[in-house]
Amino acid sequence: MDQPTPAVEIRDLVKDFKTSFRRQMLRAVDGVSIRILPGEVYGLIGPNGSGKSTIMKALLGLVAPTSGTCAIFGQDSLKVDSRNDVGFLPENPYFYKHLSGEETLEFYGKLCGLKGKALRERVAELLKLVDLESAGKRRIGGYSKGMLQRIGLAQALIQEPRLVILDEPTAGVDPIGSRQIRDLILKLRERGITVFLCSHLLEQVQEVCDQVGIIFRGKIVKEGRLEDLIAIEDQTEIILRNASPELLSEITGLIGRFPATELVRTGKPRTTLERLFLRETLGKNP
């Protein structure tokens, strides 16, 4: 069977920037290749300045590769046509403050050729999706950071793209806003939309991504399926509910009968600080 056309195909991408001092070249991205299949959620993680944003900008044609190629659904990303199928949320976006949330979405929709009833319906649908129906008529200037990120995500989705690129989607957002964005990413995955996100919030990447790439100093140092990358192959986890001390003692005794097996740790699993915060503030288990 033929393989589907990758949503993203980056081949041997190199990007050099001129530094202001003596016009020396700085290599921001060094021979990166990434392939993302339709419907996957790919997380690119790495420290600040490792080249994540540059890769995304190259994929959107905002910077030209020094060498190598980038393609979106098989189309060269330097060509404007490739942007028909992509939505982008930049890091810390600021939209036009004089527009309301609704007007913002209408503006981006019109840029993509939407108009009339179709545009109005799409705007209403997206405001509902990102939970900003009540704030749709308010000026963007009065939006909180989390609301800005959500309206940003809505504008990225306005023309129903098959690929969404998110650059640090939860940067500076509080845990509740961060959780809402995570849930939105999961909704996109359910709808079969490919998501390419970069972040340095590792826990969040772990929650939503199928594939992960680790970038350091412009090079991909590790890449693969998340489950494969984080599994500890020689260990097994059993989590019990309402286990009595007698049962635990019996299990420990049973393990002792197998010399090759070592009991590494027993104890109570812990929730995360984020889950605790959300439970205490929202009153529910996320």
Partner: protein
């Protein structure tokens, strides 16, 4: 394998119009139109301002009309030049700084559409402002011309002037009133704005700040008034440096002195259609030249 490119959604024209209307709204919501209130005050003041007279009583009315035209066209000139430079210089760097440019260029929007839309938005704002100012000026001049003619005819009759002299007096007053030459002068003000705005757009494509763009644009506008002198110097020849400098100035910059025709209209002279046609051609040529140059620079720009 490379997939067939999907056609762009929407036409160039519709995208340019969306960006232009947005830029217009953006500037309008910055309360730019408050300037019109200032203009209305200037009109009122100039209408009642009494100039010192050194001529006969038959010239008093005409001088008032000249004063109204002079202050109105002067204010239009100032407003249009300042807005052309500042608004154009503001829009592009602000979009880059706020990263809104990323979200726009990440949509299927060719860079030329973005540039043309921004320029058109600024020009639309200037056009609407000039049209409103023109309307006010024309209305005031129309009323005032009628009063002046009545007063002058009454004065001439009292003095026992012959009919043909009275008719001449009326014609002279009408020449200073709201006529087609005056509308041509307002259009010339707009044409000058087109050139300046497209020049500011070109500078803002490689400039790093609004301040830099504003200063350089005003400087070039100032130098443009010496383009004719530069051309003369270039044709006369000189040292290699002089030839290169004068050649560059006379080639790249428009001759802003040709807009002095506006002053002639203030003095009551007619604005020939041929001169207006020449001015329009020149304005459009430089607007297209600067916009295409902006596109060449902007299409290679990285963000």
């Amino acid at each position: 394998m490379t997939a067939q490119p999907a056609p762009l959604r929407g036409s160039h024209f519709s995208r340019i119009l969306v960006i232009a209307l947005h830029a217009f709204t953006q500037l309008a919501r910055m309360k730019v139109f408050y300037f019109l209130a200032v203009f209305a005050v200037i009109m009122l003041v100039s209408n009642f301002f009494n100039l010192p007279q050194h001529e006969g009583p038959e010239s008093i009315g005409v001088n008032v009309l000249r004063s109204i035209k002079s202050s109105s066209l002067g204010t239009m000139h100032l407003f249009s030049v300042v807005l052309s430079v500042v608004a154009t210089a503001l829009l592009l760097p602000k979009d880059i700084e706020d990263r809104t440019l990323y979200t726009i260029l990440a949509k299927p929007v060719p860079r030329i559409d973005y540039l043309a839309g921004k320029l058109l938005g600024v020009l639309l704002l200037i056009f609407v402002s000039l049209a409103l100012m023109d309307l006010l000026m024309t209305a005031v001049l129309h009323v005032r011309t009628g009063i002046v003619i009545d007063q002058q005819v009454a004065y001439a009759k009292q003095q026992g002037w012959p009919e043909d002299s009275i008719a001449l007096l009326r014609t002279e007053a009408l020449n200073h009133g709201a006529n087609w030459s005056l509308q041509g002068a307002v259009f010339a003000v707009f044409l000058r704005s087109i050139i300046i705005a497209s020049l500011a757009l070109l500078i803002s494509t490689f400039s790093t700040s609004t301040l830099f763009t504003t200063i350089i644009s005003f400087l070039i506008y100032f130098i443009g008034h010496f383009q004719a002198d530069a051309l003369d110097a270039f044709l006369r020849g000189g040292t290699a440096v002089e030839t290169i400098l004068t050649g560059l100035v006379s080639l790249v910059l428009p001759n802003f002195q040709i807009f002095n025709v506006i002053d002639a209209v203030i003095e009551g002279q007619a604005f020939p259609l041929a001169a207006l046609g020449k001015l329009t051609g020149l304005g459009l040529f430089y607007a297209v030249f600067y916009t295409v140059s902006s596109w060449f620079i902007f299409s290679e720009k990285e963000f």
